[in-house]
Amino acid sequence: MAAKSRETKAPRKAAAGAQETIVHKRTPFMRILTVVLLAVWIVWTLAPLLITALSSFKTAREAFATPTYGDWKGVWNIFRFQPTLVNFRTLFLIEGFWPYIWHGFVASIGSALIAVVMGTLGAYGLSRGKFKREGDISFWIISTRMAPAVVVIVPLYYIFRRIGLLSTLPGLIVAYTTFNLSFSLWLIKGFFDDLPVEIEEAAFVDGDSHWAVFTKVAVPLAAPGIVAAFVLCVLMSWNDFLFAAVIGGHRAKTVPVGITELRTTVEVLWGPINSATIILIIPMIALGVLIRKYLIQGLTMGAVRE
């Protein structure tokens, strides 16, 4: 499937280059404008990350060294510092951040696994099967993903309090599954829909069972989609704050919750906050770049493809 789309895209791109792009003519002025505006956009995108990343290796005195207003040369203060690991040391040794990372890791991987396994099974069933009320089932699944999390969380908190899942890792995993399962099911279904049924029929006629056709033919062919769904589930769970704060409580704190606790009413520990922010975002950026190709398809649940 991927190969096919690449084939159709290539000549199209060539044609675009030969004729013109959609709105603008290729004049020198447009070229310069494009370069300048995109450069501004890249600076705007990366500046907050760069400043925070550098600050996480600075002492407080260096991190707070903004020059007087209007002193433009003072911008170099951002880059003037002696790198130190003191903030990371405070974060792990004094604030005890390891458990938070571990909780976030377990909860997001656990929930992503449940969501992807059940999602793959369900997606295949929904994609290939014939059901009486297929439209209703589909609508229900997609609508659960759309409900605001703040809304789900109130009854979930109440139910979990009654059955004792509050403040536990399993509780957090179940809570994450509320948004991960419908998401992964729908996304993976799109990948199964793209596979030609004939391959599976051929395998079936050759004597494989339903299950063998599913595991040996369909799943390997849809593997990129399944991986993308898994990665996106991990990403959404790891980044989540609301569920972790409410359901995770004191005993299943994750990194986002841990960071907010570095800001107390007495003082704001900016050094550790900056280093914790870096720890929180770096792995997710890496994962995002890894599945770059499926990112838009994933985030729109298969509605838009690149």
Binding site: Q19, I22, V23, M30, T34, L37, L38, T45, A47, P48, L49, T52, F64, T66, P67, G119, L121, G122, Y124, G125, R128, G129, K130, F131, I137, T144, M146, A147, P148, A149, V150, V151, V152, I153, V154, P155, L156, Y158, R161, T177, T178, L181, S182, L185, V205, W211, N239, F241, P256, I259, T260, I273, L280, I281, M284, V289, R292, L295, V304, E306
Partner: protein, 307 residues
């Protein structure tokens, strides 16, 4: 219902029933059951809870209060004001993200080889936890050592005071954070849409001598209606969901200037621990989200048919 067309070629044996259901039915079951338990069951409880005065401690009896929670909501000025603030926050963010996203998509579409590298750089903010985005901007907007605050003071836009302590600037600040994080999403979706605009139509309109602006409105936009609907819809749903950046940057302040309805729900349910009221609040929020989303889809569909 395009599925019906392909069914003709399928093998009937594939859909043979085993214990009353086809293989496909059986493997769909676990997901459906789990999903029902974690979404339908809470949804049912939300409606029940909204009619109760839920006790703050587990084990104590809940009191049935009828529609009092709903009545209370509409007498609550913070709730009503929250809608105005949410409207401002959502409306301005969406418009800015839409325009910037479209512009960036058009420029990215102009590039050939470097486009891939640049899109990869540009999409980085989307991966970042909203909490982290909140802290990035809390740091940059700090009035004693924030670099963006320093920049705004240096170019003279800001005379005095602080950003997050000012009622108007605080709203602008949370909008800026949202725009920073999610404009790339819009841009990438629109870029995908632009790539699918049929070039023969563009050429035809060019041969007819249509100026670029006309070409944009007559050929490009109509072809992108579905992409625009999806992009705006997903952004709308998500911006209603997340309160993380607000929680970090302003905690609803100053003086409630950034207390959106979604954020206020968090306050009611988990700070004042009035779960019954929170459930009623959540139910209203859910209904409004669904109605607005549905209305938007209907309007865009009608426009799409008219062209």
């Amino acid at each position: 219902m395009s599925k019906k067309d392909t069914n003709a070629r399928e093998l009937p044996a594939l859909h043979r029933k085993m214990f009353g259901m086809s293989f496909y039915g059986w493997i769909l079951m676990p997901a459906v059951i789990l999903l029902a338990f974690i979404t339908l069951y809470p949804c049912f409880w939300m409606i029940v809870m909204s009619l109760l005065k839920v006790s703050t401690r587990p084990g104590m009896k809940n009191e049935f209060v009828g529609l009092a929670n709903y009545a209370g909501l509409f007498k609550d000025s913070l709730f009503l004001q929250g809608w105005v603030i949410q409207g401002k926050y959502v409306g301005i963010s969406l418009v800015v993200e839409f325009i910037l996203g479209f512009a960036i998509a058009l420029f990215l579409n102009n590039l050939k080889r470097s486009a891939n590298v640049i899109t990869t750089i540009v999409l980085v903010p989307m991966m970042i936890a909203p909490v982290a985005v909140g802290f990035l901007y809390l740091y940059l907007f700090n009035s004693s050592f924030g670099w963006y605050y320093w920049f705004l003071r240096s170019i003279g836009i800001l005379r005095q005071g602080s950003i997050l302590g000012d009622m108007n600037w605080a709203v602008a600040a949370i909008i800026i954070a949202d725009v920073w994080e999610w404009t790339p999403f819009m841009a990438l979706i629109f870029l995908a849409g632009l790539k699918k605009v049929p070039l023969d139509q563009l050429e035809a309109s060019k041969c007819d001598g249509a100026p670029p602006i006309r070409r944009f409105f007559d050929v490009v936009l109509p072809n992108m209606v579905s992409v625009i609907v999806i992009g705006v819809l997903i952004r709308f749903m998500d911006i209603m969901r997340y309160i993380d950046t607000i929680f970090v940057m302003t905690t609803g302040g100053p003086a409630g200037a950034t207390k959106t309805v979604s954020y206020y729900l968090f306050d009611v349910a988990f700070r004042f621990f009035d779960l019954g009221r929170g459930a009623a609040h959540g139910f209203v929020l859910l209904l409004v989200t669904i109605i607005i989303a549905q209305a938007f889809v209907n309007i865009m569909k009608k426009k799409g048919v008219q062209r």
